[in-house]
Symmetry: C2
Subunit: 305 residues, 2 copies
């Protein structure tokens, strides 16, 4: 995709990891060529998962594909403060067993290359602004809707929330009328955005989303919460793009429903036409690889110039 879209000049090989709660995606990406090798590793225990990733990069190096730097776009909460002694460490959060795992120091020791770490959504956002759906924008947001929900936000020239990162998945929302009594699935907040609208939450109420018919009330409820989240982003940051990624957005009818319910909620207040809303709320230009290219972006930032 990158090679087709002209953006990468031929350059060094970059190691990228999209560290998700379900899968770690590993890739080598060369500027001008895109992904030249990749592997998906299930997210099991830290030692199992990280060792499998490390093995992949060593095997590639043995074939002559040696990365100059690594970037990791990771699930959170995670210490992304480059000045912190624990930079790169996953913090206490919903993902059990991973707290205190330092991704940066692990891979720096294992691969002897510099490693940069940011949140999955910050990485994906930067990649989308560089190469994807938010090219040319100054203010943009990337929200992932999968096992969990998170967002990366960019305004005034850099990421919002530094030296930490946003925790947008944990805002509270108005309940849908047909979902008033659902307590939510977030282990910390119950009915926050993630607790109401993650894939986990949808599955808990209605079963496997893949099996839900398009006209199931579950989708309307889901879209209502995602539309509210877009509403909050629009009313707070006034972004040019809100990119919705993550596994749940693969449901082809969901995007349109989010846009419709967004329009209902905003009720003309920001003077947006339906076409404006179609341009505002979009899916990733880099598709399912936004996080992976986010890793590449972070790696590239380590060896810029």
């Amino acid at each position: 995709m990158i090679s087709n879209s002209q953006s990468f000049d031929v350059g060094p090989i970059l190691a990228a990891i999209d560290a998700g709660g379900t899968t770690f995606k590993c890739a080598l990406i060369r500027e001008g060529e895109g992904v030249i090798a990749n592997l998906r590793v299930p997210t099991a225990t830290p030692s199992e998962t990280l060792e499998a990733c490390s093995r992949f990069f060593h095997e590639q190096a043995a074939k002559g594909l040696t990365a100059s730097a690594m970037g990791i776009a990771s699930f959170g909460p995670i210490d992304v403060d480059v000045n912190s002694p624990t930079y790169g460490t996953i913090l206490d959060g919903p993902k059990l067993g991973w707290a205190k795992t330092n991704l940066k120091s692990y891979f720096e020791a294992a691969l002897s290359i510099p490693v940069a770490v940011d949140t999955d959504v910050n990485g994906a956002l930067l990649a989308e602004m560089m190469w994807g759906a938010a090219q040319g924008t100054q203010v943009a947001a990337y929200m992932t809707i999968g096992t969990g929900i998170g967002a990366g936000l960019f305004a005034n020239g850099s990421l919002i929330g530094k030296p930490s990162h946003p925790e947008f998945g944990h805002i509270r929302l108005k309940h849908h009328d047909a979902d008033k009594d659902f307590m939510g699935v977030c282990s910390i907040h119950g009915d926050c955005l993630e607790g109401l609208a993650s894939a986990t939450a949808l599955t808990k109420r209605f079963g496997d989303p893949i099996k839900l018919s398009q006209d199931h009330i579950g989708w309307e409820i889901e879209a209502f919460y995602l539309a509210q989240a877009c509403n909050v982003l629009a009313l707070t940051l006034r972004p040019e793009k809100i990119i919705l990624g993550g596994g749940l957005m693969l449901a082809p009818h969901l995007l349109g429903s989010v846009r419709t319910q967004y329009a209902n909620l905003i009720n003309g207040y920001l003077d947006q036409s339906p076409e404006d809303i179609d341009k505002l709320i979009v899916t990733p230009g880099l598709g399912d690889d936004a996080g992976l290219y986010g890793g590449a972006y972070l790696a590239k930032s380590l060896i810029a110039n």
Copy 2:
């Protein structure tokens, strides 16, 4: 207040207006001295209100107190894009009769001085960051809770939402259990933050807030919504200060209740101690004059070197 807090050197006279939905506060402010003349004008029709303000500044000029520039911190929605042909114009919104009023061109013509305009909350935020409760911070928010609700946000070196401005008062919220059926008072959104938690909304359900006893459920409901708003700001921007201003915050018990309910909502997720929360959520250092000093800040920016 300013003169006591050392911040102003003696300098030019600045004309400031805090243009509120209920009152226009006018003042002349001289650096080093603070407010040297002021007048409160009820917000009636645009012509009545603006003429009364203009008359005040002319009278002061006749006494030798001539301003070099004017800054207006205004209610919204308002065009605050300095590059727009309608910069300074109030837009269609809840305040009837004021749409299309151009505050900037009115006062430039009436007083023959340059005029800068921003939202009331952006002005108050800048003033609080310069001279008030958010001095020394890099990321801060100012929310006003009065007739309406709005917020100014600052991160990454400048205001958020430019060339427009945030419309944070119109985000949706989880209803309080004892307030599930209230439809809200926002003419556009019903039960948005402003529709649920403005002074107008509180009065609609429970009567004059001044007459409500401290233990009235209305205050708990109010604090629940304001705490949610703080929660959204904290999870989105990760600010160092959230300053709560506006008439309703004059209720002395409300701030503590907002902090308590904020702590309940966040449930330890951002690793904040009660002391951290006391430092995060505060009232304005400039008190009721934050908006007025915001006007002075905007005026000052027009004549700065």
